[in-house]
Amino acid sequence: MIQHILVYITLAISVGYIVTKFFIPKSIWSSKKDSSKSCGQDGCGCH
């Protein structure tokens, strides 16, 4: 029983990690986002 619980906990952590890493945009966690300064636009200053 304990081994099953441990497996499910480990699985939940792993799924959580993969979901937050690849499927949830970082901007949700970080408030620092300003697309006006991103590259690829005229006058963004990077090129």
Binding site: I2, Q3, T10, S14, I18, S38, G40
Partner: protein, 728 residues
């Protein structure tokens, strides 16, 4: 609590800044990113005399404070922003003894910001060889600062530098150059409009090509008096400022810096002639590449076998020692198998980075960039594209970042789009395991077939990048070309300490960067492979036992017998027991295989199998191809996990893969045709979510990464399909 002071390490590229940083901080360093941008941030702690500690920040290399790229702006932003927690109490400007004049431009700019600055004249050990003499005392007086003459190679001058840092409060904050003389009226107006601000600081903010995050140019929008200066006028003033600074520097160096030209004649020119020669240059580079790939194979074999054996034993030990149950199985078959699948490649990755670090340290890499520029130009790529393409051999993400130095937007875009074709270190584990399985032993002119295959894959990656650039160049119609300037640093013997740090840091980031993803995916895969809902899964033992009794063992088990019966002696009275034990093991493996096929993962794999079958892959490889979309290295970890689920054998990953049989052809799954098909698929496919995310950020649109993904995946699929169909 002891006091900690902030120290910024700044300097031109190739001045040995990193060596000074390594000497000051030793192993007390960490690498990260600046917040909001993926520019590498290296910081460390240095213990100073009198119990003082210094937080040393190694800033990206820059030639001056007049920045043109985002990387350089990081340095300027930190120096200008007093509210930044890393704003330096003292700046260490590292210069190279042979290029002091150019390096002093940056030094005088920092001094003019009224930041206490120490000048480090590095590579002092070259002075006698190059016939250089410096009157340090007079130079200190003229620059109104303190100087440390350092040789990181001979480890001299570092203690003096530590003392100077500790004593930073006594450093003068006076300016070197009064730039207001270039346009007195303009600067007077600036000073009266912003009486609280430093004029030189304002001037820097106004003239930067890059917007700063905390120091917006909008500050000046309301000040109508500054609308009088157009961009071209500002540029002209900036040039005047540079001329003024060089006049000041020339005046000082005339009295303090002497070079005996007769003594300075070195063998650099001769070596450059050979290494950058139109024919010999390429020939030498090609031979160096051959040696590297041969060494990667030759030298890594023994440590790799050790690691592989260690993980096989560790799995066995876990199963024997821990209480039996699902969690023990997860550790043995999921976690250990997944981690083992990546750790095994540490020796080869470390050797690759060792050679790259040696080429960089000796100064040869700049010659390679110069050589490659000649090849790139006819294909419409900028000479500056060479640096990202070469950095791409480590990882595409920093390589895509490195395109920021390309001023022309379209050239930059092309470089961003083609860089992921370069063979990155994440592809290496996939190549190595497949090559080991399908490429036969043997050699050609003393070079093993395996090393030659690996090198061909690297060359193919570059070839695909160049070919795609030609196509994109035609589609995107680039009209203007940017110029290419590369600094050729002096040749020097590599500092083993620096090489060691680089190898350690790169290998660490390779293992830990992908390690967490591999671990998580291995756990999820193990779960999906160890559980199922169907009756076949639940009654696997009965079904398989009955089938074996009626039809005998499968082809996979026949191979198992062939490989394990070698030591069996039929005259031995215990032989029948051993035979029985072998049969029991084979039966257990067949049950495990049947369960896997009917597990959740099995059903998922079967669903995608029709897409990958024409390439010669089965559903297990299909699963590995899908999971490795997170990161290519996951491919090996996935297969290691899949082949370990339910398997009690103490076997290495390579042996497990070699024993796999294609149920349709009843031949080994990993053969020359499917192996080459897999190698080509991974050489060209865009199997990296992180790179796509970075491309999206750098291009500010999903259009480009989406196009890149579709083009690369289709190209990879078609090439792999042709290869399999021709070779099968």
């Amino acid at each position: 609590m002891s006091k900690q002071i902030n120290v910024a390490l700044i300097g031109n590229p190739n001045t040995g800044k990193t060596s000074v940083f390594n000497q000051l901080t030793g192993l007390n360093q960490k690498v990260g990113n600046y917040p909001g941008i993926t520019v590498e941030k290296k910081e460390g702690i240095c213990k100073l005399p009198r119990g003082v500690k210094a937080h040393i920040l190694d800033l990206p290399g820059t030639y001056s404070l007049n920045t043109t790229s985002l990387d350089e702006s990081v340095a300027v932003e930190l120096l200008l922003n007093k509210n930044d927690k890393d704003h330096p109490d003292v700046a260490i400007v590292v210069s190279d003894v042979e290029n002091l004049k150019r390096n002093l431009l940056l030094f005088t700019q920092i001094k003019d910001l009224k930041i206490p600055a120490i000048l480090v004249i590095n590579m002092a050990d070259r002075m006698s060889r190059k016939g250089i003499t410096i009157d340090i005392e007079l130079l200190e007086k003229k620059l109104n600062s303190k100087i440390a003459l350092v040789s990181t190679r001979k480890e001299t001058g570092i203690n003096k530098l530590r003392e100077l840092i500790a004593d930073y409060k006594n450093l003068p904050k006076t300016q070197n150059v009064d730039i207001s003389v270039i346009a007195p009226e303009y600067f007077e107006k600036l000073a009266t409009t912003f009486p609280k601000e430093d004029v030189y600081k304002l001037w820097l903010v106004i003239t930067q090509d890059v917007n700063f995050m905390p120091l917006e140019k909008t500050l000046f929008k309301d000040a109508s008096s500054f609308a009088t200066k157009s961009k071209s006028e500002l540029k002209r003033l900036q040039q005047k400022e540079t001329i003024l600074r060089y006049q000041f520097i020339n005046g000082i160096l005339k009295e303090t810096y002497k070079v005996d030209l007769n003594a300075a004649k070195g063998f650099r020119a001769t070596l450059d002639k050979v290494l950058t020669h139109k024919i010999f240059g390429y020939l030498i580079f090609f031979l160096i590449l051959l040696t590297i790939f041969q060494a990667i194979y030759g030298w890594s074999e023994y440590p790799m076998d050790l690691i592989d054996g260690f993980f096989a034993s560790a799995t066995e030990w876990v199963k024997d020692t821990l209480p039996p149950g699902v969690f023990t199985n997860l550790i043995a078959e999921g976690i250990l198998a997944g981690i083992g699948g990546i750790v095994i490649f540490i020796p080869q990755i470390a050797f690759l980075f060792l050679f790259i670090a040696l080429l960089e340290e000796t100064g040869y890499m700049s010659r390679v960039v110069f050589l490659m520029d000649r090849i790139m130009r006819p294909f419409g790529l900028s000479g500056k594209s060479v640096v990202p393409l070469i950095s791409g051999t480590a990882c595409a993400i920093p390589a895509v970042m490195a395109t920021r130095t390309i001023e022309n937007w379209k050239e930059r875009l092309i470089t961003i789009l083609v860089t992921p074709f370069t063979t990155c270190s994440a592809r290496l584990p996939v190549y190595l395991i497949i090559i080991a399985l399908v490429i036969p032993e043997g050699s050609f002119l003393g070079l093993s077939y395996k090393a030659l295959t690996l090198m061909s894959l690297y060359l193919m990656g570059f070839g695909a990048a160049i070919l795609s650039a030609v196509i994109l160049n035609k589609i995107l119609k680039i009209k203007s070309k940017s110029f290419f300037v590369v600094e050729m640093p002096n040749y020097k013997l590599p500092l083993l300490k620096n090489v060691g740090y680089t190898v350690l840091e790169k290998t660490k980031s390779f293992v830990f960067g992908a390690g967490k993803i591999i671990l998580a995916i291995s756990i999820i895969l193990w779960f999906l492979g160890s559980n199922g809902f169907s009756d076949e899964f639940k009654n696997a033992e009965t079904i398989v036992t009955k089938r074996v009794e009626q039809e005998g063992f499968s082809a996979s088990s026949e191979i198992y017998f062939d490989t394990h019966q070698d030591g069996l002696d039929i005259n031995d009275p215990n032989a029948s027991d051993q035979q029985k034990e072998l049969e029991e093991r084979a039966l257990a493996q067949e049950i495990a295989g049947y369960k896997l096929e009917h597990s959740y993962m099995g059903y998922m794999g079967k669903a995608i199998e029709p897409i990958v079958r024409p390439l010669g892959y089965d559903w297990k490889i299909g699963i590995a191809v899908i999971t490795s979309f997170a990161a290519r290295e996951v491919f090996v970890g996935t297969l290691a996990t899949i082949y370990s689920v339910g398997n009690d054998e103490e076997e290495t990953i390579k042996n497990r893969m070699a024993a796999e049989v294609n149920p349709r052809t009843q031949k080994p799954l990993f053969n020359l045709a499917s192996g080459v098909s897999l190698l080509l698929f991974y050489a060209f496919a865009m199997q990296c979510m992180s790179t796509l995310a970075v491309v999206k950020r750098e291009t500010n649109s999903w259009k480009w990464p989406a196009g890149q993904l579709v083009f690369m995946s289709l190209f990879a699929y078609i090439v792999a399909l042709i290869a399999y169909q021709l070779l099968k």
